[in-house]
């Protein structure tokens, strides 16, 4: 089964929390039961006048609702003819979220990073600069930020050190709710035994280095304690932005 912990904090500078988290876990027992699955989503909204918090919420909800209605239906009924692949389910669910934000909250946008864990496999979909990590003996960043600064690093124009100080750190190249038919990143990897999945917004990774995240996470046996320790440390570092994270562990066989 899953063991997970979350943190969801405004931080010390912002007035409101524009992030949003969704966690869904499942269980089925029986002769031909499907393996359990979990859906984990973080979103970080943007846009003035409370639009940001509404955008992240609307996107995360719409996305999760779509995934549950498609994937969840298959999960309860077995694999049907012409069934969609998990990539197709995740991508069309993001497109739905994108439409919902464009239609209802024009002018706003949100990041969205989600992990669907099923069988022994993790399926990621991602837009923006929230991140997914696998944290075990080492820490490994799974997602690739869709940000101007990341693009400049990739092109070799600035170093990763400079990136941390770059003025337009929060300029995104892509976000949910900005243009029709957005392209998302998709990736699937097997769950590695003994590792934890971490999803977080830039309020966490922007102030804590990868090695700090690794060290702090490793200090706590319970994912909830680890999540709280991470946000505590981010607040100590000034808490300039909303801090949201989900830490997931898989125990036993799926």
């Amino acid at each position: 089964m899953f063991r997970f912990g979350i943190t969801y904090e405004t931080g010390r500078v912002r007035q409101s929390n524009e992030d949003c988290l969704v966690v869904i876990t499942s269980l089925q027992q029986g002769d031909t039961a499907s393996p359990y699955y979990g859906l984990f989503v973080v979103a970080d909204g943007m846009g003035g006048h409370e639009q940001g918090e509404r955008a992240s919420q609307l996107a995360a909800q719409t996305f999760a609702r779509e995934v549950i209605s498609r994937f969840g239906a298959q999960w309860l009924g077995g694999v049907s003819e012409n069934s969609e692949s998990i990539q197709e389910i995740l991508e069309s669910s993001i497109l739905r979220a994108n439409q919902a934000v464009m239609l209802n909250l024009p002018g706003s946008g949100t990041t969205l990073t989600a992990a669907l864990v099923f069988s022994r496999q993790i399926f990621f979909t991602h837009i923006g600069d929230s991140r997914a990590y696998l944290v075990g003996k080492e820490i490994r960043q799974i997602t690739h930020d869709h940000s101007l600064v990341q693009r400049l690093v990739d092109q070799g124009h600035i170093s990763s050190e400079e990136a941390g100080r770059f003025a337009q750190r929060n300029v995104l190249l892509k976000a949910v709710g900005q243009v029709e038919g957005i392209e998302t990143d998709f990736l699937t990897i097997p769950w590695e035994k003994g590792s934890r999945l971490l999803l977080c917004t830039d309020g966490l990774w922007g102030v804590l280095s990868d090695s700090e995240i690794l060290r702090i996470t490793g200090n706590y046996e319970s994912p909830q304690d680890a999540a709280m320790a991470l946000s505590r440390q981010a607040n100590i570092m000034g808490g300039p932005d909303n801090i949201s994270a989900i830490i997931v562990e898989m125990t036993g066989e799926p």
Binding site: S34, P35, D44, M46, G47, G48, Q51, G52, Q74, V79, E81, S83, E84, S85, I86, Q87, E88, P106, G107, S108, G109, F118, S119, R120, Q121, F123, S147, L148, R151, L152, Q155, H157, A167, Q168, N170, V171, L172, L173, K174, A175, Q178, V179, D185, F186, L187, T188, I189, P190, P254
Partner: protein, 628 residues
């Protein structure tokens, strides 16, 4: 800089047609809008007997915040004052400026024409490159004027919607609202899709060379029809102009790319220099070459390394009596290959010298498997044969009820092999005794994969099965057409192709589809995985490399016939045969052709390799050994 949320500024035109402003300007219609304003056509009623038209630009109230509003008003005033001091045929004249309550208006010469963004969207095809070059020349002229004005003016916002072509087809620069507001360091103000602005402008520094860049970006957009606002910034090299629009002359492409250099020092150093090059590409202009050394770098040199048809000399060839459709194996000191002439041949790897042959009673189409001193192979005579590697004499045979076109897999002391009798057979590898059979929905021609106590195989019914070591079906996945392609495993996924044109990646534990990748024709070729890439061929004529974790295509290589053969990856190269008769050697990471080798017939079988050579057969009846 304008933020990307500009489409949603939300304000509506506040002036109704028929309104008269200042007792003087009668609003006739709305002609345009931008991130900060609405623009109307108006008639100046001071001149009742002649129709004097004016453009009235209304600044949108950008913010409820008083301080922000103040700055906006100031910048609008600055635009008005600046325009009033400029005198150039390409810059509209300013007539008036006034504020009514919270709203500010700028009255200027009406340009009777269209902005370039409108021209571009209204045209269905590429614009003539000579026309775009001509616009470029005129723009260089007016921007040069601005840069040498006292004090110098940096336009900072060159883009198609800020440039108009008037009724005489002269270029007019509109929109001098340069001191655009943006709130730094707040996520809401994304400038990420802006696209026309140079990197230094993102840092708040703009100089004459920034206008060079933005003009380059504008010309790129006009020539390629690809809107840079919806592409990642500075991604010009991902959109090679001439690849998108082949009618762009090479020199024009080079000039645009030079203007778009990331480092300002590498761009044209002033508008005159840019203008001189653009002039060569206007109607009647003389083409000259931009000095190659100064042109922006790294449009990946696509010079293929010498692809010698004849450079590769086979180490040896061996001729059989019929076509070879199967895949050879190299084991110990023997090359083994089954042919359609019913024979299994044993040859010396060093010379191709014949050692022995074993005659079955039907064609051999698969790949032999080796267990200790025995070779196992299936035949169209419905049997599975075990033959001694040393003597070439039969050790045992096993009967199925139909042709065997699947290849054997050996694991856990058993041979697993499919047959056209629609059964998967598990046979004791030592004695040839059947252990169990699993009945499925159609003939099995793919080679089973054995991995962690499961056997995976495709079936002509379109299904892919997972069975345990007792033959019990664990899951079954259905594709629309036959699965002849044999599965391979990686990243916790099972990869195989289907005649329905898709390559599938299934979660190996549950059999659920993780992703699928579409090609343009049947996939019979069996995928292989190397460096995280899934390599396979398709009957659409291509060899593909697809990232196994993200399903993204890394490259494909076009052959001249269907690719039904199985690829082999060895030493950083992909080897694969095609029905066009060639064996291709491609670079694994890029798909670039290293060399190709022509045989006398379609190649449909796979390849084997050792440290020194690769061996494969062709339907020209020959087995070839090529040195590595």
């Amino acid at each position: 800089m304008t933020n990307s949320l500009r489409q949603h500024t939300g304000g509506t035109a506040s002036l109704v047609v028929g309104t008269t402003l200042e007792n003087r300007y009668l609003v006739i219609r709305v002609v345009g809008s931008g991130g900060m304003s609405w623009v109307y056509q108006a008639r100046d009623m001071r001149f009742p007997s002649v129709t004097r038209l004016a453009a009235v630009k209304e600044m949108l109230n950008p913010s409820k915040d008083e301080a922000v509003r103040q700055t906006a008003v100031q910048s609008f005033e600055r635009e008005a004052n600046l325009l009033a001091t400029l005198n150039h045929p390409a810059i509209p004249r300013v007539y008036d400026y006034f504020t009514i309550g919270e709203r500010s208006f700028l009255v200027m010469e009406f340009v009777n024409g269209k902005d370039l963004e409108a021209i571009l969207t209204e045209s269905n095809d590429f614009l003539p490159t000579t026309m775009v070059a001509h616009w470029g020349v005129e723009l260089c002229h007016v921007i040069h004027y601005l840069h040498h004005h006292q004090p110098p003016v940096i336009f900072r916002d060159i883009k198609p919607s800020n440039i108009m072509s008037d009724e005489h087809e002269n270029i007019r620069l509109v929109d001098f609202g340069i001191a655009k507001l943006f709130e730094p360091d707040r996520k809401g103000t994304m400038i990420g899709t802006e696209g026309y602005s140079p990197p230094e402008q993102y840092r708040g520094e703009a100089g004459p060379l920034s206008d060079v860049y933005a003009l380059g970006a504008t010309l790129h957009h006009l020539l390629s029809r690809r809107d840079p606002r919806i592409e990642p910034p500075f991604s010009w090299h991902d959109r090679p102009l001439r690849q998108i629009n082949p009618s762009v002359p090479e020199g024009l492409d080079q000039a645009v790319m030079k203007a778009l250099a990331y480092e300002p020092e590498q761009r044209f150093q002033d508008m005159k220099a840019f203008q001189a090059v653009l002039a060569q590409f206007t109607e009647g202009g003389q083409p000259i070459v931009v000095s190659a050394a100064s042109v922006a770098p790294a449009v990946a040199a696509a010079v293929a390394p010498a692809t010698s048809e004849d450079g590769i000399q086979p180490k040896w060839e061996f001729t059989c009596e019929d076509e070879i459709r199967g895949t050879p194996v190299i084991v110990k000191d023997t090359v083994l290959v089954g042919a359609y002439d019913n024979n299994l041949y044993a040859l010396k790897p060093s010379s191709g010298e014949f050692i022995w042959k074993y005659a079955a009673e039907g064609g051999l189409t698969g790949k032999p498997a080796v267990f200790e001193d025995n070779i196992i192979v299936g035949s169209e005579d419905k049997r599975v044969h075990a033959v001694s590697l040393i003597t070439g004499k039969v050790a045992w045979t096993y009967y199925t009820e139909a042709e065997v076109r699947s290849s054997p897999t050996i694991a856990e002391g058993h041979v697993f092999i499919g047959s056209d009798d629609a059964k998967l057979h598990a046979i004791n590898v030592m004695y040839g005794r059947g252990a169990w059979k699993t009945e499925v929905d159609g003939p099995i021609r793919s080679t089973p994969l054995a991995s962690s106590d499961r056997i995976y195989f495709g079936c002509e019914s379109g299904d892919c099965y997972s069975v345990d070591l007792r033959g019990e079906i664990k899951w079954k996945f259905h594709s629309k057409r036959a699965i002849t392609s044999s599965p391979c495993e990686g990243n916790g996924l099972l990869y195989f192709g289907s005649v329905d044109s898709l390559l599938y990646a299934l979660d190996i534990k549950s059999g659920w589809a993780a992703w699928r990748f579409r090609t343009n024709n049947a996939i019979i070729s069996s995928p292989t995985i190397a460096q995280g890439l899934v390599i396979f061929g398709s009957a659409d004529g291509r060899i593909y490399a697809v990232d196994g974790r993200s399903s993204k295509e890394k490259w494909h290589f076009e052959t001249e016939g269907q690719v039904t053969a199985n690829p082999l990856v060895q030493g950083g190269l992909v080897y694969c045969g095609s029905v066009d008769g060639h064996l291709y050697a491609l670079e694994l990471m890029t798909g670039k052709l290293r060399w190709k080798f022509l045989t006398g017939g379609p190649i449909t079988g796979g390849i084997s390799a050792n440290e020194e050579m690769i061996v494969f057969g062709s339907t020209d009846h020959k087995i070839y050994a090529l040195p590595l």
